[in-house]
Point group: C2
Chain length 469, copies 2
């Protein structure tokens, strides 16, 4: 074809964790690489994430005496995913998780906090936080590495079409000068991929028409932690050329979100990293606990939604201190509030005071026993009872956080068509794919997914011309 405007070995669509990782690996493998990104800056939803990475069998776990394994991680993911996960993909993610984590630290230079945490649904501590507790730390490292390697990152450039010939995907049509608000660009360009295209465009959590087709209750009325351009158009482009849709109706709500701020906000750090680990979550009418606060996101969100109005997450100064997290931002925004006594706290949230005191007393007894008979929640070693003022509290109401569904891929990150065969020249990684997480993604597994499958997609895309046909 003579009508291409430009040619690269590998075209990566999307400049988040998965896309930039794929680009770095494809370039490292010797390919010429361009990344196109519809927004005016790289990072997409990734930069506003909390930068948590789950990995099994790391050096830090070992030195902390935590005996983890890819097999245990695999079983945790399958359990949360309610068996809908594609087992082969979960094997790949869990077995390569420690290596990918190490690669991000050693090769990309990402700094992680020297701690390992345990979040809902994980059997033991295996979650790491990038410095600043933000995905921006990882994105910055990826952007720097990509620039060093000579990867061209074109922002404000949107995918319009995947160009196919009879055998394979051979390029893309893009809109340059793209304005996501207006959904228009200034000019069209045809870019040829000598080897392959990697689609890593993220999820559709902010795409109300698309998500509510799959789950009608997730209408405009339900907020999302995603940035507002986390929409489905690239996924639709993949489906239009015959990619297999998987698990589109499995959409995750974040159970640690606050109705008192927009978007992801500042509250989740308190709820997920402190309240659900050391504190309690209580019913707004009865002030009783109603769920194991360390359940996976699906169970926890459904339990709160079932109640029908915001619940209250409560902790104390000892927990905040012990956690080591800085929650100043949430306090400044009044999303988390402090109280000298539990009675004042009860008054502020309109909770019945005596039942709340009894709930705290029962929970403290469970803490001192080291076992929560009521809801089967594991009690962390040396967990302090809730009795050290000031008390901290936050209202809890779920928001759309992650879309488990997307296009089907295989262990090589090739996109699989409706005839169950790989589409030659087409790879995908990250939230735009489906099958890895099944019915419910565990916390800190999204970035692991992006790193592991982004690396695989990038390496294979760089070699695609040689392996195909």
């Amino acid at each position: 074809m003579s009508d291409w405007d430009e040619t690269f070995d590998v075209i990566v669509v999307g400049a988040g964790f998965a896309g930039l990782t794929a680009a770095v690996e494809a370039r490292t493998a010797g390919a010429s690489v361009v990344v196109i990104e519809k927004m005016k800056a790289p990072g997409g939803n990734s930069v506003i994430s909390d930068g948590g990475v789950a990995a099994a069998g790391t050096a830090l776990q070992e030195s902390s005496g935590i005996q983890d394994s890819p097999e245990l991680f695999y079983r945790d993911m399958l359990k949360a995913g309610m068996g809908l996960n594609h087992p082969a993909l979960v094997r790949v993610l869990t077995e390569k998780s420690a290596e990918a984590f190490q690669w991000s630290a050693d090769y990309l230079g990402v700094q992680y906090l020297k701690r390992v945490d345990r979040f809902g649904g994980h059997s033991l501590p295996r979650c790491y936080a990038a410095e600043g507790i933000t995905g921006a730390t990882i994105i910055k490292a990826l952007v720097t590495k990509a620039a060093e390697l000579g990867v061209s990152v074109r922002t404000a450039t949107s995918l319009s079409t995947l160009v196919t010939d009879e055998r394979r995907v051979c390029g893309v049509v893009v809109e340059e000068g793209y304005d996501a608000r207006k959904k228009t660009g200034t000019n069209t360009k045809r870019v040829k991929a000598e080897r392959a295209v990697v689609v890593a465009t993220g999820g559709f959590g902010a795409d109300v028409p698309f998500r509510s087709t799959q789950a009608p209750r997730l209408s405009q009325e339900v907020d999302t932690t995603n940035h507002k351009f986390a929409t489905a158009e690239a996924l639709v482009t993949l489906l239009r050329i015959g990619s297999t849709p998987v698990h589109l109706s499995h959409i995750q709500l974040g159970p640690w979100a606050s109705p008192d701020e927009k978007g992801f906000g500042s509250g989740p750090l308190f709820a997920d990293y402190i309240g659900f680990l050391y504190g309690i979550l209580v019913h707004p009418l009865t002030a009783t606990r109603f769920v194991n606060e360390q359940s996976d996101r699906k169970l926890l969100s459904e339990a709160v939604m079932e109640i029908g109005s915001p619940c209250v997450c409560i902790s104390d100064q000892a927990a905040v201190t012990r956690s080591g997290w800085n929650i100043d931002r949430a306090l400044r925004k009044n999303v988390v509030q402090t109280f000298g006594t539990l009675e004042e706290l009860a008054c502020r949230y309109n909770l019945p005071a005596q039942p709340l005191l009894r709930t705290v007393e029962r929970f403290n007894a469970a803490v001192s026993r080291g076992g929560d008979d009521e809801f089967g929640r594991p009690i962390l070693t040396d967990s302090p009872p809730i009795q050290h003022p000031p008390y901290f509290a936050m209202r809890i109401w779920p928001k759309v956080h992650y879309t488990m569904g997307g296009v089907r891929i295989d262990e090589r990150a090739q996109v699989i068509a409706l005839d169950h065969r790989p589409i030659q020249g087409l790879y995908a990684a990250g939230e735009v794919t489906g099958g890895v997480h099944g019915a419910c993604r565990l916390g800190s597994c999204a970035i692991t997914d992006c790193l592991v499958f982004g690396r695989i997609a990038g390496k294979n895309a760089a070699l695609a011309g040689h392996l195909d046909g």
Copy 2:
């Protein structure tokens, strides 16, 4: 275009409940109609169904003193569907259920048994059984009516492609002389649709690669009640032209199936119509009840699968007599067995005898109280206790029964594209569509779905040329 071999106003793909209903309505509205059916005879999965139809607000309910309403039916469907149902479609189904049921009796001449039953998940009795308790009764009436009206039904004719021009679906390419076993035909034909194509090709319960992509556990090892050619190829054809997939991973297991026979078999009549209504379902190791036997199919199947090996459904002669059902076939096939005493029954199924006696005693006490405190199961008025030999028992193990997912349609039964707009000239009805039943279809609602949306699709298809663009 000059290369069409034949032309009809309306082409219907699939000769089951939905397709034949659409054909009859399109023809009644004045269109010339052809039905193509890949198998050598009409009926598909429909003829092997039990012929149950759910309808709210019927004359028979009224004369039986049952106060039902479309609103109550709507709420039951949404509850079972876990809120994933498309509310507008559920409104249509429930509001038109009584009319469609009456139409099948009056216009098609379907004979129904003079009884109204209540099955799991329905708030009250609203299920009707076609004579012979088989879908064949309804299919025969549809085939007869179609022939009377001059609808051409072409068997052994398979859909290859939906032909589209820029504006709309304008015809089909078919394989004649089709052999479903070999997946080949003898010759290709292009048939033009002057007005519209209606796709009513059923579900994909027997398509192991397709279903296990959505739900990996539903491998070859899991049996299905469907006929073995209930596969996804027409659904894939719809997806290829940009139809929106909805809820593909929501696949229903029938909780009333027996591991001691292949396919749908003879056991479900006993389990669903007698055992779960009057009898009990017990754990294979403890001989205790573990679930409300009148739960919806999803809850019940998951409860049994969770146990991990077949459970035992137990009832007695009084229940069989009272039910009025003839279960001779299941007895002849030894799928249901009879015993003089509960001790003999326990011995046969390797259940602990004393715990079984205690379970029956507790259940009988609940029956005499008229309330099941343990599992919240409603006790039917004048329900007999389990104490009249012979005792009847059947092993229970779920089978893939129904695929809730399919293509998105609107209230007019038009197929909706990925851009959220209707695809002109294309309608769909029945199990090939998604959204009506959400996460879980209630019993007897599949035929209602086929009748209601088959009628709508047929009527609108007949007028499509006049309404479009």
